[in-house]
């Protein structure tokens, strides 16, 4: 083949194409150039991976590690007849509590729930909380705890002679299930998790139908050449790049102030938390909904545009109406793409802090949200608040809360991906 083509080609292209030897060299050079680019791209990927690794390391490093605890009263002193505190029966525990705290506090506990109805674990917890009163004296990072263990113990012995040091995971089941508290050892993120879930649910309910609807209209019905439609399209693209805090201002002006009657729930005849003044979950959800609406619309349009034109024609050719083509062919074909866009947008919404600060998320709230009209906090706000505290141990709490946020985010994404894959499979099989 090569021999056969060599002669005539050489004659025809004489003076234009390089000779074989030069051509061979040039191919080498061209290949090398391509190889250099491949290496550059690989380096780009590696730096991304390194950045991500550093981030994860930083978070995990702070979430676990040794802590030095100083107890007001050593639990060993509370042991009765040599039986340690955590093995005592409930009656003895109640008596210990009674002798160690004030009468007023005891009465308050009795009023909250009579001691006869409280469980042994509950009383035990109260003793730890009010009698033992552990305080964090110092914390160490995970890296220090593993690689400089002896130094940690020496330091603790030197600076905090009364303390005892143990390895603590700041991310515990208690951390997830407990409400916010000013005591770092007892603080939890349950309120923030519920707040985040409520807000995201409202965000999705608001922005998904409206976003997909707008995308369908813009792609399928709107006359693309018309000036008004071009204007709208350009502005949607611009809106996607507007800083999120500006959406916060918008939410504050519209949802919190103007629509206070609705967002505070007072139109429901005292159905809501009247002290919230519109700074409620629904205001936050709608604000974040506005924030991600342009993203959902743009992604939806791309997905709809990606449905092959031949499918639409096939539908029309059978005498289907425009709506039948959209409903039976365009939407099922576009759904995986629409869902991917929504996943990305919701991931952004769940991590947003700035607009929620403006809209008025509570920074300290120990009561679970009970509906769209209650006050709320969300995980990013909680993290932000903890990182701005002066005490070190709140930084550990923030790191643990970041882990919770990441897990929440990943599980939301995973469920959306599963949903999308099911769509894909249905498309292929049925």
């Amino acid at each position: 083949m090569a021999l056969r083509s060599q002669q005539p080609v050489a004659q025809r292209a004489a003076g234009l194409m390089p000779s074989r030897a030069i051509s061979h060299k040039q191919v080498k050079v061209r290949q090398r150039r391509g190889h250099i680019w491949a290496v550059i791209f690989q380096l780009a990927l590696f730096s991304g991976i390194i950045a991500l690794g550093a981030l994860l390391y930083n978070i995990v490093n702070q979430s676990f590690g040794y802590v030095a605890i100083i107890n007001e009263i050593d639990p060993a002193e509370l042991a009765v007849d040599g039986v340690p505190l955590n093995e005592l029966p409930k009656d003895t525990l109640t008596r210990i509590l009674e002798t160690n705290i004030s009468k007023g506090l005891m009465r308050r506990y009795e009023n909250d729930m009579p001691f006869t109805e409280r469980s042994r674990e509950n009383v035990h917890e109260l003793i730890l909380e009010r009698v033992v009163e552990p305080q964090v004296a110092a914390t160490w990072s995970l890296a220090d705890s593993i690689f400089a263990r002896t130094r940690v113990f020496e330091e603790a012995k030197e600076k905090y002679p009364d303390s005892h040091v143990y390895f603590r995971s700041w991310l515990t089941t208690n951390f997830v299930s407990k409400a916010q508290s000013s005591e770092p050892l007892r603080a939890g993120v349950r309120t923030a998790i519920f707040g985040s879930l409520w807000v995201v649910a409202i965000t999705i309910l608001f922005s998904f139908p409206i976003g997909v609807g707008a995308a369908i209209y813009l792609e399928e019905y709107a006359h693309k050449e018309r000036f008004l439609n071009r204007l709208i399209q350009t502005n949607i693209n611009n809106l996607a790049g507007v800083p999120s805090i500006i959406y916060g201002m918008l939410g504050l002006a519209i949802f919190v102030r103007m629509l206070e009657v609705f967002t505070s729930g007072s139109f429901l005849d005292g159905g809501g938390d009247t002290t919230a003044n519109g700074r409620t979950i629904i205001s936050a959800g709608l604000t974040l909904g506005l924030l991600i609406l342009p993203l959902i619309i743009i992604n939806g349009q791309e997905a709809i545009r990606a449905v092959p034109h031949s499918l639409r024609q096939a539908g029309f050719g059978l005498g289907a109406t425009h709506w039948q083509v959209i409903w039976h062919h365009v939407l099922p074909g576009a759904m995986p793409g629409v869902l991917t866009g929504t996943i990305l947008a919701v991931s952004r919404a769940i991590g947003e802090t700035a607009p929620l600060i403006v809209v008025g998320a509570s920074t300290f709230i120990a009561v679970d949200p009970n509906g769209p009209f209650s006050k709320f906090t969300v995980l990013p706000i909680q993290i932000y608040q903890w990182t701005s505290r002066p005490q070190d141990e709140f930084r550990n709490l923030a790191a643990a809360a970041i882990l919770v946020l990441l897990i929440l985010l990943l599980s939301l994404n995973a469920s959306a991906v599963l949903l999308r894959n099911r769509f894909n499979r249905n498309q292929a099989n049925a």
Partner: protein, 277 residues
Amino acid sequence: MSIAIERPLRTEEGPNAASQNGMNRYAIEVGAMNVFYGDFCAVRDVSMQAPTNKITAIIGPSGCGKSTVLRCFNRMNDLISSVRIEGKVLFQGQNIYDVSVDPVEVRRRIGMVFQKPNPFPKTIYENVAWGTRINGFKGDMDELVERALRAAALWDEVKDKLQQSALGLSGGQQQRLCIARAIAVEPEIILMDEPASALDPIATLRIEDLMKELSEQYTIIVVTHNMQQAARVSDYTAFFNVDDNRTGYLIEFDDTEKIFTNPSQKSTEDYITGRFG
């Protein structure tokens, strides 16, 4: 193959309808039709008549507007917003471009098969059933699907995998599925836009045989690049050419035999003998 179709004729037949004993001699009559894309005239002054239950082929060089003309016959060009059509296209005496005519009904009665096989990403069964279902079919769907697939000479190949995805079929099978899908809604005319150009010679022959069979029941208008194909299958042939302004126009329309053996125009002869351009 026995497809008994009751075809209710339109009641509002125009005075120009060339009806003989209730049956139109021509399925489509085109009179002085011009097609514009924006300001650009794509096809000018087309007048032709496609006889009922015959195969009419449209041939011509690339860019002469064959497909554009074909798509005018069932208002497929409506989907492109810049297209404007002048003149008249009579279907059973009714101008399908009248304001009172709904393009959805036109497309339901004048089916179309496209150049590239485009089955829906659904099951084979659903591909055939969908068109009839959205048109309000209430009868025995299984029977209808079988009938349509048999008519498209595909039944024996797919009867055991009706519930599998249509995308698993070969290109030729997919195209026959598209034909089955088109005839399932029982149209009166089937338009075919280069139906075999994406297929190998064997699959092409099968499609051609199928077209001949279907022409007993349906009027077929087929656009093709392949002159042998036009000569093999069609009863009538329209030859289009393109002028210096890139505007297509009809050179001549006649019996296929006459076009291929004794064309009245020089350019037709040049084209079919390969001396063109």
